[in-house]
């Protein structure tokens, strides 16, 4: 069907989702730094300001904490803000409002309010922007009850999960890898949603399960194809949601493959892979494991500026291939 063959970039898919939601519901509006005439640091909001005006596409001053708080206040009083951080690193300035207010307000008030807030976090390395513009901090928010945290990996999911997030009555945090913005893929026309909390099996396989997040899904699929040539049949699961995590899909897969590799860009220690690994190690899939659970995450360093060093700090396809091969072949 025609709609299915249309290709959009990840950034265009997000923009289309926002436009559809704003058309359908006048409570939906956008807030962020330079999202108006500038179109956003990564051109995600693009020309939406021309379509919806400066009253609904609001350029904030450079005030992340206050801006986030204004979004929380607007959400709790009837609006549906979509707040863009220019880089996820700047969320470090707004953790108070995100974690103490947005995430807890409903609970602290005994269910008297909801906080239908969406926040977007351009994340990850690979742009040569160095240590303060390259972090992957989704694990922090994944540790916070009251929030939902997602990492769409494709244009299709970026649009569908954002539309699901906008419709969600609770705060949803979306981590978007900057290197995905230009990636193209099929995106259906019109309104559709992709459920929050469901992982997706991107590739079926028998020998090994890879659970990957965001851009690592694509690198893992590439590695899987390469290893298929070697006769190693890998199942690749796109986690898609950090909180609430879809453990069952992973458990079922591991029961089938008996081997688990977690691939994520964030710093390895206490990153998403730690939770995936622990969730399996305490599940009934444990008895099916034929080998240790391996994690490939970012190095225990800030992200350096030099491009070669920068690449070395996060998992790359050759490293994934090597780790997957060793794990599948039982090499220690």
């Amino acid at each position: 069907m025609d709609a299915m063959v249309r290709e959009l970039s990840y950034a265009q898919a997000i923009q289309e989702a926002m436009a559809i939601a704003m058309e359908a519901d006048e409570r939906v509006f956008l807030m962020g730094e330079d999202i108006g005439v500038y179109g956003g640091a990564f051109q995600v909001t693009g020309d939406l300001v021309e379509r919806f005006g400066t009253d609904r596409v609001i350029d904030t001053p450079i005030s992340e904490l206050g801006g986030a708080g204004v979004a929380v206040g607007a959400a709790v009083t009837g609006m549906r803000p979509i707040f863009e951080f220019q880089f996820s690193d700047f969320a470090t300035l707004a953790m108070e409002q995100i974690v103490n207010q947005a995430a807890k307000m409903r609970y602290m008030l005994g269910g008297e309010v909801s906080v239908p807030l969406v926040m977007r976090f351009p994340a990850g390395s690979g742009t040569g922007a160095a240590a303060q513009h390259s972090q992957s901090l989704e694990a922090w928010l994944g540790h916070v009850p009251g929030l939902k945290v997602i990492q769409p990996a494709t244009p299709h999911d970026a649009k569908g999960m954002l539309l699901a997030a906008i419709a969600d009555p609770d705060p949803v945090m979306i981590f978007e890898h900057k290197l995905l913005y230009k990636m193209k893929g099929p995106v259906p026309e019109g309104h559709y949603t992709v459920p929050i909390g469901k992982a997706d099996i991107r590739r079926e396989g028998r020998d090994l399960t890879i659970v990957a997040t965001s851009i690592m899904v694509h690198k893992s699929l590439e590695a899987a194809e390469a290893l298929a040539a070697e006769g190693i049949d890998i199942e690749v699961i796109d986690l898609r949601t950090v909180r609430p995590m879809d453990k069952q899909t992973i458990i079922d897969s591991v029961k089938k493959t008996s081997r688990l590799l977690c691939v994520y860009e964030a710093v390895k220690t206490l990153g998403i892979g730690a939770e995936v690994s622990a969730a399996i190690a305490e599940s009934d899939a444990f008895d099916f494991l034929d080998a240790p659970i391996v994690r490939l995450g970012g190095l225990e360093t800030p992200v350096p500026y030099n491009p070669e060093l920068e690449k070395a700090t996060v998992p790359q396809v050759p490293g994934i291939i090597a780790a997957a091969r060793d794990l599948a072949r039982g090499v220690r």
Partner: protein, 341 residues
């Protein structure tokens, strides 16, 4: 800027509240000021007797400020409050029984026992909640004002905060945004002279916090927070300005807390004399009582009647709280997320 002197003058030609409100309304105000005072004394007693746990921050001595600010507000106007928020909550219309119930951690409390004193709220009456984070409610009030403007509801948002809060970055960011967007919000700094143990002189580079309004091109008004009429007049003007779409106002309400900062305060940072002076010479309830008497709006008997009514309300409130059920531990995970229908 209003000042003590001003009130004396105004005695001659009727201070604001006597021009603005009926005698009945003013008696109601006195009633509520008693109610706040006695509610906090009652809560304090329950705490001492071990009926309430955790900690609490009492606003005893600041009742005129809470009442004066809320007087001109409509029921659907919204406020964000602070850790010292009992007075704001009652002034905005909450029932003391449900507040006591919350402090007792009961299901009948405003937060179903999940919030306690530091998160006391009454959303139905426009109180979006006390806040455990100093200055945490300021940007949230700006957000409420943004909703009002976008949805054209005509609602005004009020953010209460203390003198200590004015040194938080959130204060700066929020006031700047409210001003550039001309939002219907009122910033009320209840300056009781101290942030915990730290005096404004030691913490704040300006003498009067209202002076900082100029940094956001909004009016900065200083009022004697212990004189109801002054506070109400400043609030009334700020509300008019907000509803007219002219933007925010910063009101500095100078007052004093009679009690320590919280339940763990050795009061080392202020003198007995200072406390004594405020308690015996500037108690906002005594001042208002006298004013109403002088204006012949109420007599001893009337005052007695109110006092007794309040006593009963408090006693019933505590009984209600005691008698109410505690939440079932199995329900501890309720309200983390919105239950889908």
């Amino acid at each position: 800027m209003a000042s003590l002197k001003k009130v004396d003058e105004s005695r001659t030609n009727q201070p604001f509240i006597y021009r603005q409100y009926s005698h009945e309304q003013l008696k109601q105000v006195l009633h509520k000021m008693y109610l706040i005072r006695r509610f906090e004394e009652g809560a304090e007693e329950c705490y001492t007797r071990g009926l309430i746990h955790g900690t609490m921050h009492l606003s005893i001595g600041q009742e005129a400020s809470a009442m004066g600010i809320c007087m001109p507000l409509a029921e659907d106007d919204q406020i964000t409050s602070t850790h010292r928020g009992h007075g704001h909550c009652i002034a905005k219309g909450a029932e003391v029984r449900r507040m006591f119930a919350e402090f007792f951690g009961k299901t009948t409390g405003y937060c179903g026992g999940r919030g306690g004193s530091m998160h006391i709220a009454d959303v139905a009456k426009g109180n979006l909640g006390a806040n455990g984070i100093v200055a945490g409610g300021i940007p949230i009030a700006v957000g409420a004002a943004l909703s009002s403007k976008m949805m054209k509801t005509g609602k005004v948002a009020v953010s209460f905060f203390g003198d200590g809060a004015n040194n938080e970055g959130a204060f700066h960011e929020a006031l700047n945004m409210a001003s550039i967007w001309k939002l219907p919000v009122i910033f009320v700094c209840e300056n009781n002279g101290y942030g915990m143990s730290t005096s404004t002189a030691r913490s704040t580079a300006v003498k009067n916090i209202a002076e900082r309004a100029a940094a956001y091109s909004m009016p900065g008004v200083i009022v004697n927070g212990n004189i109801f009429s002054e506070v109400a007049e400043a609030s009334f003007k700020a509300v008019e300005r907000a509803r007219a779409g002219e933007g925010p106002t910063l009101i500095e309400s100078k007052t004093y807390r009679h009690r320590g900062h919280s339940k763990s305060d050795r009061n080392r940072y202020r003198t007995k004399e200072e406390i004594e002076d405020w308690m015996s010479n500037r108690d906002p309830i005594v001042l208002f009582e006298n004013e109403l008497r002088d204006f012949g709006i109420i007599d001893e008997k009337g005052i007695q009647g109110i006092r007794e009514a309040v006593e009963q309300e408090i006693a019933e409130g505590i009984e209600f709280a005691k008698a109410s059920p505690s939440p079932d531990v199995s329900r501890v995970e309720d309200y983390v997320y919105t239950e889908h229908a």
